[in-house]
Symmetry: C2
Subunit: 344 residues, 2 copies
């Protein structure tokens, strides 16, 4: 049988690429972690990351061109936030449809610039091409130091599992756009859509955690909370027990008014840019305070165990958290169940 991209799905495609890329000697950060690190000599380490936004699958209806440009950059900066790297330079490769208007181009350019400037980076260059989809490939560069980056793979047993904020807003926001029959208070709906259109990267939090060596493992949550927990669990070969699923009143109200379980909105969303991490218990108070000092918060949601598996303890029940989140090419089946499904 001739297999095609849509039969394989994103993770198997990534696997094909990974297998066919000759591994660099002395790799400082393993393939697949949030950033790549390159030794430039003289103790200088460069961190780099690329992320592509394709409008037809990654842009929800109602998002402005400015917001699209900004989001393409902010989503990439979230990976730098997870690894505590300050973004210095942004490059942007664009595929632009022939019919795209000058007004949209200007708004897109201003949005790309705004996304970079919001986090202290500058756009230094790029490349422009004609394509059928609007495609924005962002590349980030920053400096890091030896021992500065916390991997996904180094969680220890009995660490505290923590996140930098509530979950479920983008999933609920997307549902607001899909299902117009669900009515929630306008102010709360506006809050959900704001989360969707104007995501924030937790850069200050990530830089603080990294500078002070406060985490044992860390990742961003761009593919959803469940997926991030599974990724840390798999990489670190540890289990995770979650006993709290932090969310907001707006998400709770949305869940109540719709037929969607609150836990699903929180766990299986995506395009959220909170950080998900493990912290040694002895460093917990220090970590919490450090994050509060930079205007953020750290929410304990569970702990790690020697025994593998990712579970949610709800009262006396313990349920398995599934390993799913958004996966490109899988919109047909699997992603129907993923709330943060994209639009085509």
């Amino acid at each position: 049988m001739l297999l095609r991209a849509k039969d394989l799905g994103e993770w198997k495609i990534i696997d094909i690429f990974h297998k066919n890329f000759e591994e660099a000697p002395d790799l400082l950060v393993p393939f697949g972690d949030d950033v790549s690190v390159v030794d430039l000599g003289k103790d200088a380490l460069a961190a780099i990351k690329t992320d592509m936004l394709v409008a037809s699958t990654d842009v929800p209806p109602g998002m402005t061109d400015w917001q699209v440009g900004r989001k393409a950059v902010v989503g990439t900066i979230s990976d730098f936030a997870a690894k505590g790297v300050e973004p210095k330079a942004v490059l942007v490769s664009l595929g632009i449809p022939a019919e795209y208007s000058k007004i949209s181009l200007e708004a897109l350019a201003k949005g790309v610039n705004a996304g970079a400037r919001e986090y202290g980076a500058f756009v230094l260059g790029g490349d422009t091409n004609e394509s059928r989809d609007l495609v924005i490939a962002v590349m980030l560069l920053g400096a890091t130091r030896k021992g500065q980056i916390t991997l996904r793979s180094t969680a220890k047993p009995n660490d505290i599992v923590a996140v930098t904020g509530p979950f479920g807003k983008t999933a609920a926001g997307l549902q607001c756009l899909v299902d117009k029959t669900v009515r929630i208070r306008r102010k709360l709906e506006a809050e959900l859509l704001e989360a969707l259109y104007m995501p924030k990267a937790r850069l200050n939090e990530g830089l603080t955690l990294s500078k002070r060596g406060l985490t044992t493992s860390i990742i961003d949550s761009s593919d959803g909370l469940a997926w991030s927990l599974h990724e840390l669990s798999k990489s670190s070969r540890k289990g995770f027990i979650v006993d709290k699923l932090p969310t907001t009143e707006s998400v709770k109200e949305y869940a109540k008014m719709s037929n969607i379980k609150l836990e699903d909105l929180i766990l299986y969303g995506g395009e959220e840019y909170e950080l998900v991490m493990t912290v040694n218990q002895e460093k917990w108070e220090e970590a919490k305070e450090a994050i509060e000092q930079v205007g953020g918060k750290l929410i304990r949601i569970g702990r790690t165990t020697r025994e593998r598996g990712v579970r949610y303890k709800r009262g006396h029940d313990t349920i398995l958290i599934e390993s799913r989140g958004w996966e490109h090419f899988k919109s047909g089946d699997q992603n129907k169940e993923t709330l943060a499904r994209r639009f085509r």
Copy 2:
């Protein structure tokens, strides 16, 4: 009137982006030169570059998936070659059509890897997305040093203008695919198609010239020889007089058998990766020898003048070389006259 991307053309679109990007302070290399350079502190300078390949406009018929993957990387490395930067790391953001086969994906991955390894770099990571076009955005990282990079803007009067090889093969190769009625000897046709499908970046030449500070200005020729000369002329505010248009027997034969002027094949092609540079006369012999020592050659094609303009002196005639080359979004009119036109 509502202007669209196709009305603006690539250069005006780049202009819109440039205008809307806040300029970084202490910019080490100006926006629009072949690479961007970022100070990472402690005297470490990182050079970065991004380039996007869109299959529907950038891939000629008959090119294999492996060659497409390889070319996406090699085209980007050519910019590093021009600025004398050794590529260390490659990131690749992919947009893949749902119907793309597993066999093609594997070949593409191997091609990307081969393009990097051929020039000593490793692929460290990337991003995979679903899109209607096959899109490959390549990002390169390398180390450079203060004063190492020769810009486009620093040619002096009475410099020698030189190139690293003959021109016209890719333009003639593309024409072979477009116009099947032109017959040239099979061996020569194979040579032209080889240039098209398996481009080479002049990395050794570029590294040597940079290390020894042998050029006063330099650029690669990915948009054609005429465009590169105009770009150096415009950036440096100097004139160029060309008295030699180096090419091959195969291109000469193709010109003879077709209705296309030899000069047009040489000047207005593109997707060629020779280096185009200016060299101080006193350094000419040293430059020529240095390039020969790394297995390349340096061909004198003219000189620079105080008086602006880019001209070709042919016997007693002097004709103006036009400022054109491939421009995305302009396939309708302008690119009809550009030989290296892409396929859709």
